[in-house]
C-alpha cells in the first residue's frame, strides 16, 4: 500500500494497479490500531457472472481526481458513526483476471459489532458512490456492467 494516504492516521486509502496481500494488510491494521479486540476484513474478487457468459476478466475504469477523495470521505463517515480504531481501503483499477482480488476493506474496533457494521457500511457506500466502472471481458466481446438495484438498497439501509 505504497501510495496510501488518509486524512487522519486512522484511515488509509489506496487506488492501485497492483495486487494486495490480505495477510499483510491485516498485520498493518493491527500495527496501527493499538490493541483493539476485533478486526473484520472484506475482500471482493472477480467472479463469473450469473448470465451464462463466461467472464474472462474485467477492466476497471475510475475517475482519478475523485476516487481517493470519495473513498476517504466514506471512511470518515464510517468513523463518525462507529468507534473505529483503524480503517484500510484498497481498490484496484485496470485489467483484472477471473478470481483476482478487486477490493479490500479492513476495520478494527474495540467491539465486533462496530467492526462488522463499519466494514459493511464502507462496502455498501463504495458500491454506490465511489467512481469505478467495470467492463466485463468475455471470449467473444465485452460489456459494461450495469449497476444493481440491490446495491442501492444496501446503501439506503444505513
Amino acid at each position: 500500500m505504497s501510495n496510501a494516504i488518509g486524512s487522519s492516521p486512522q484511515i488509509r486509502v489506496s487506488v492501485q494497479f497492483e495486487d494486495f496481500n490480505l495477510g499483510d494488510e491485516y498485520q498493518e491494521i493491527k500495527n496501527r490500531d493499538q490493541g483493539q479486540g476485533a478486526v473484520v476484513t472484506f475482500s471482493g474478487l472477480v467472479r463469473d457472472n450469473n448470465l451464462g457468459k463466461n467472464v474472462k476478466g474485467l477492466f476497471l475504469e475510475h475517475y482519478p481526481a475523485m476516487t481517493q477523495k470519495c473513498l476517504i470521505d466514506i471512511c470518515e463517515q464510517a468513523c463518525k458513526r462507529w468507534e473505529l480504531a483503524a480503517v484500510s481501503v484498497i481498490h484496484r483499477v485496470g485489467e483484472l483476471s477471473l478470481n483476482e482480488q478487486i477490493v479490500f476493506v479492513g476495520v478494527s474496533a474495540k467491539h465486533r459489532k462496530s467492526a462488522f457494521e463499519g466494514c459493511e457500511f464502507i462496502m455498501d457506500y463504495l458500491k454506490t458512490q465511489a467512481p469505478f466502472w467495470k467492463k466485463e471481458r468475455f471470449a467473444d466481446g465485452e460489456a459494461w456492467v450495469d449497476a444493481k438495484q440491490s446495491d442501492q438498497h444496501a446503501a439506503n439501509k444505513w
Binding site: 481498490h91 477490493v103 465511489a130 466502472w133 467495470k134 449497476a147
Partner: protein
Amino acid sequence: MKVVFFGKLREQVGTSVIDVIETPENIEGLLKVLKSKGDNWRQAFDDNDVLIAVNQTLCDSSQMLSFNDEVAFFPPVTGG
C-alpha cells in the same frame, strides 16, 4: 470549463474530456449544450441514468456552475 465523461457514457459520446468555452448557469444548461452536439450525445444522456459530479463531488442538475469548475458525467458506479 472542463467536462469529463466516464464508462459507457464516455464511449457513447466518443470522448473523455471536452472544454466548454461559455459556462452555462447550471447543470441543466450544460446538458442542453451537450445534447445539441449530435445524436450520439443526445442519446447518451437520454438513454442512461447519468450521475453528475462538480469538482469531484456528487450533485444534482440544479447545481450552479463557475467557469473554473470541473464537471463530470458518468453512469451509476459499479466498483467493489
